[in-house]
Amino acid sequence: MNIKEMVAACEAVLFASGEPVSLMRICEIFEVDEEAAEGVMNMLSDRLVNSDSGIKLVKLDKVYQLCTREEYVEYIRKTLDLRRKTPLSQAAFEVLAVIAYNQPVTKAYVEQVRGVDCSGVVSTLVEKGLLEEKGRLELPGRPLIYGTTDNFLRCFSLKSLDELPEVPADEDNADANGQIKMMDTALELANQLAEDIPIEED
């Protein structure tokens, strides 16, 4: 491995690890002595500066880390701020709705209703200020219970939870809906069949 490659490899290692990496660790990974490792690090630092990279190498004591250059903080902030406008996923909407209509409920309840794990979605919704912990249930394990927040009300233009739109009653499709509904059912099943039969795509 030539020196250029080693610089690149160090960069990749620092990038992937995300956290600070000690000089000693670099020595171990590349089986070189401290002096050589330091040399490589200096080369990496120089190359980043010379190629006008948006990333720089920071050295603290004997620990190295890649981070973004200060002058671009503004754009990073903007990115993060724009992220707040990313619409919720379908899964997030479902979790939110299940909790909104049944609150306060445990995560386990939501999972039971949806049939899939939703820890990730719940914590994202807490981060987004749409859900919050409302205490614990007096049950073995004392599970947390969740409910909606004021921000939730704001995002859905509701004055209070009493204003939650009513879920239309189910007009029990089993009885007397005649031919049209039957055909719908057939089509639904056709869909299921289509799904279950191999379809080659090119």
């Binding site: 619409p87 049939g115 859905f156 057939a186």
Partner: protein, 238 residues
Amino acid sequence: MDQISYKLGEFEGPMDLLLHLIAKNKLNINDIEISVLIDQYIEQIRAMQLHDMDIASEFLEMASRLIYLKTVSLLPKHEEAEQLKDELTTELMEYEKCRRVAATLSTMTFGFNTFIKSPENIEYDKTYLNIHESEKLIDAYISAVGRGQRKLPPPTTVFGKIVARKIVSVSSKIVFVLRKLWGGGKKQLRTLFDGAESRSELVATFLAVLELCKSNRVYVNGNGENAEISVIKERNKH
């Protein structure tokens, strides 16, 4: 038998085992010698049982399916056996395709050697900003809970079974469809569903049409789900 030293774990499931046996015996997947296949499959399962192995229920399910297939093959009327065999063949071919694609994919894993970085730990206000109509919540709720507002949706496997297993009345519906087409005229596909009284009847009719297509007995032509679809009897079989 020569080598019954496989471990069950070596197979991804009953289909995998069947394909293994087909390859080993150089059988033609399009026209499997079903008796050979069945005997060897059963023998494998027995061997596994002898070795005190935990046999996954899927393997036993397939075994019972094969035994049933063998049983009906012995009956003087072969129609059902043919159908079941066709079904199995189609499934095996499909799974075989899946395995080939999986093999291709497994040679393309170079990208797994690349690593991404976890997001920077920057503290920022994550409060959600978008405004939605409150009706959106109803949709999402109905979507999560289902129209019937069941607390628990039935497990998805239920649907696999509706399709995987023949509903009892499919053969009766095959007769029904053929009778409707008696004389060789065209019929609107939709009309076959007229007067159906239950969901399972609709399913059976639809499956019957597919079965008839598969065995070259009817021909389906046309576009869309509307009027243009017609069922024609292909040959005068009666």
